[in-house]
Amino acid sequence: MSKFQTLSEYERPLSDGYKLLPFRFTPLDSTNYVLTNQAGEFLVLDRPTLDTFVRHRLSTTESTYADLKSKHFLVDSDSSVAIDLLALKTRTKLRRLADFTGLHIFVVSLRCEHSCPYCQVSRKSDDKTAFDMSIETAEKALALVFRSPSPAIKIEFQGGEPLLNFPLIRFIVERAETINVIQKRNLQFVIATNLALIDDDILGFSRAHKILISTSLDGPADLHNKNRPRPGNNSYQKAVEGIGRVRQALGRDQVSALMTTTHASLGRVREIIDEYIAQGFSGIFLRTLSPYGFAIKTKWFEAYDAPEWLQFYFDGLDYILELNRAGHHFTEFYAATILTKMLTPFEPGFVDLRSPAGIGIAAIVYNYDGDVYASDEGRMLAEMGDKKFMIGNVHRDAYEDIILSDALLNPIEESFAASVPMCSDCAFEPFCGSDPVFHYATTGDFIGRKPLSAFCGRNMSIFRHLITLMRRDEEVKRIFVRWANR
């Protein structure tokens, strides 16, 4: 008689049956379903297995039973710690909400010397200073910045071309640092610039104050110059030279670049990615155009449809995976953001893909004229004449009035994905977000109609695509885990 008991002795409680924990499911393809729990853990089952599972007929000896139990889709009477762990994971996913607004965008000038037809902020070409932010406005805005309880504060200078008002950037940086001597936040600055106006003076100041540079790079020279015209037709040359100068002066990782997909980009995704590799970047964010500003006026926004963009995106992703398989580490940042939601216990905190929406409570915009907007897209819309997302003015309103305004709270509440029709029972909701500004701009309300929503369609396709890719190939899964934890 052995003094050790057998495994089946310990499996006795399983005969009591199992309970389902909250989860949602949606078809992945013609035979498989994706199941997700509220912490973003997922599992793919074929339809008969899913059916057996929800009917409480799944055999405890099947490995699927162990998988579902391990990922907290079911509990049996042998173990109840799943509830503690799920609660912890849910808290972890929502943790960033408590930090509140971290990104503070200052539109220091709406002027620009570029004349991009896809400009989504409706830049002004006037030489006048009517579209520059004043010192008084900046001072008032800074007072609001430090009312946010966030332990990390990032101040981003936007335009127009913010370097056209560099003296104000200088003022804001120095003033913010003075305030921070007492506030002691993790304070960071970013300038979003086309780099055409960068000079040693600006670089010296940026080095002294550890300012990061964010720029635009749309692809090879001909494409970039076509998308981003300026006098002299040398936008590409200016950007590339500027990237080099910033790296030299501030450090290799102190400059990042963003691309925007235009009709002319379609079919050229490999060249665009190659351009990023040639410029020494470790990744790319393949971005679609947004329906604001000149992009609407010039009809560039409607020059391609969602399937065309997805084709472009998936081709790009294939190429990037090819590069990674061959040993070159290179990341597609939008996929990486989603993969962080899928493959880690953390929430990436990407402002445009979270629920509740990031408007106001993750990012906030102080416009050149002192108006405060709930998001960058909100002020883009305002330049088109619709001030729906204006939530106050730095000269007129107190912090509490701005943050508690109906103009901010209504869109956040109404668009909260967990309670929005079709989102609330969508299995992909834990990976997704809500974009009340996009839906307002395209349909006139904060929610939109999901079957017709380009935001919904695009993201659902990407979720399915990413899951399919990593199911098919262990090596892709490993690349994705690395992206998720980059």
């Binding site: 050790f4 495994l7 162990a66 042998d78 173990s79 710690v81 762990l85 493959l343 880690t344 216990p345």
Partner: protein
């Protein structure tokens, strides 16, 4: 293999009622007199100085012992104790003529067994539990700690389950902090007692900056873990214990022993750890030690490590790519997937570390963790020397 515990060849001049003692060994002939009175002098070939509480030597040097005054207390040990050196700490039982080496100053593998009692009965336990009152061990440890060199890097505590001793063991940890503030502490525990949040808080209140608990999780599924440790509810209590320890900011290591009952879900366990326990400080994936209960249960535990390399690779990369610290313990390099070499640690305590005849001439031997001495009973069929 080093012998730490043994019978002396002779105890000379000890009175019949001499008490058990814990004593520090000195090899320095010029020790100040007040210290000589409470230390054992290690006799080699030179003339032994006077005034030490006792004198210790091995059979080889017995002739030198004869030069000590006739009434001095002396202990002659078998030659296998020749490694004993200055600064070591011994426990002596004059009644049984027993000696145990409690602490070796030159070793980085010092640990104290705190109790043989345990609330687990693991299939592969290397130190089979006994249900006895062995609380005297704790008193010995408390006496030994002040004798330990202050430059010691780390001291381990093992069992049994140390925390079954409750506040008595916490007192040992506080004593460690008081006498050896710069010495790291590593405790092997199943973590279940910390399911009591109040106890976790009392442990955290010791406030030691370099103290870690190594806690085993053998499966992502409760039934398998409970079966391996032969105890109901173990999985839930261990997990709640880990959550409580981290709630109070304590360092936790997860230890997984890989064997026939645990290898197949290793990748799922790695994912479970990433999703649920991402905040633990490190994860160790360990090979089986063929001793204790493992011998009795060998047929249901043994699997050749060469057969689980794919599971091990998936688990290690999942943890490492998720930015967790992961190590592989007790594995020979010739069995490991090359890609896993950077994670392999030489983890086997020096006193029970050996190599097999197949290892002869291997050029990687210096980098290889080798075997537990107990592995002679069973080891992989695929051991081969790198030429």
């Amino acid at each position: 293999m080093l012998v730490l515990n043994g019978r002396a060849l002779d105890f000379h001049n000890f009175q019949s009622d001499a008490k058990n003692a814990i004593i520090r060994v000195s090899a320095q002939p010029n020790r100040p007199n007040p210290l000589r009175k409470r230390e054992a002098f290690l006799v080699t070939d030179q003339n032994p100085p006077e005034g030490f509480d006792m004198y210790i030597g091995v059979a080889k040097t017995a002739s030198a012992l004869k030069r000590i005054s006739l009434d001095a207390r002396t202990i002659i040990l078998p030659d296998e104790f020749e490694y004993i050196a200055d600064g070591d700490v011994l426990r002596i039982w004059p009644g049984q003529k027993q000696v145990r080496v409690l602490y070796r100053r030159n070793s980085s593998y010092n640990y104290f067994l705190t109790t043989e009692r345990c609330n687990h009965y693991c299939l592969m336990c290397s130190q089979p539990p006994k249900d006895i009152d062995d609380s005297w061990i704790i008193e010995d440890i408390l006496t030994a700690i002040p004798l330990i060199d202050q430059a010691t890097q780390e001291i381990g505590f093992t069992g049994g389950e140390p925390f079954l001793l409750g506040d008595k063991f916490l007192r040992v940890l506080r004593t460690m902090k008081s006498y050896l503030p710069n010495t790291g502490i590593h405790i092997l525990s199943n973590g279940r007692l910390f399911a009591d949040e109040e106890f976790a808080k009392r442990y955290a209140d010791i406030d030691h900056s370099d103290m870690m608990v190594g806690i085993p999780i053998y499966s992502d599924v409760s039934t398998i873990h409970d079966y391996v440790v032969q105890s109901d509810n173990a999985f839930d209590e261990t997990l709640r214990g880990i959550l409580n320890l981290k709630r109070y900011g304590q360092k936790v290591e997860i230890r997984v022993v890989i064997h026939q009952q645990t290898y197949s879900r290793l990748p799922q366990l790695a994912e479970f750890i990433v999703r649920n326990l991402t905040f633990v400080d490190q994860v160790a994936l360990m090979g089986l030690e063929i001793t204790g209960f493992t011998r009795a249960n060998l047929p249901k535990l043994w699997i050749d490590p060469s057969e689980y390399q794919s599971e091990l690779y998936k688990a290690v990369t999942m943890l490492a790519d998720s930015r967790m610290r992961v190590s592989i313990y007790n594995h020979q390099l010739c069995l490991l997937d090359r890609r896993l070499w950077p994670y392999a640690k030489k983890s086997i305590s020096d006193w029970k570390n050996e190599y097999m005849p197949e290892c002869k001439g291997c050029r990687e031997q210096e980098n290889c963790g080798g075997f537990f001495s107990s592995a002679k009973i069973r080891y992989s069929d695929h051991i081969k020397a790198f030429a």
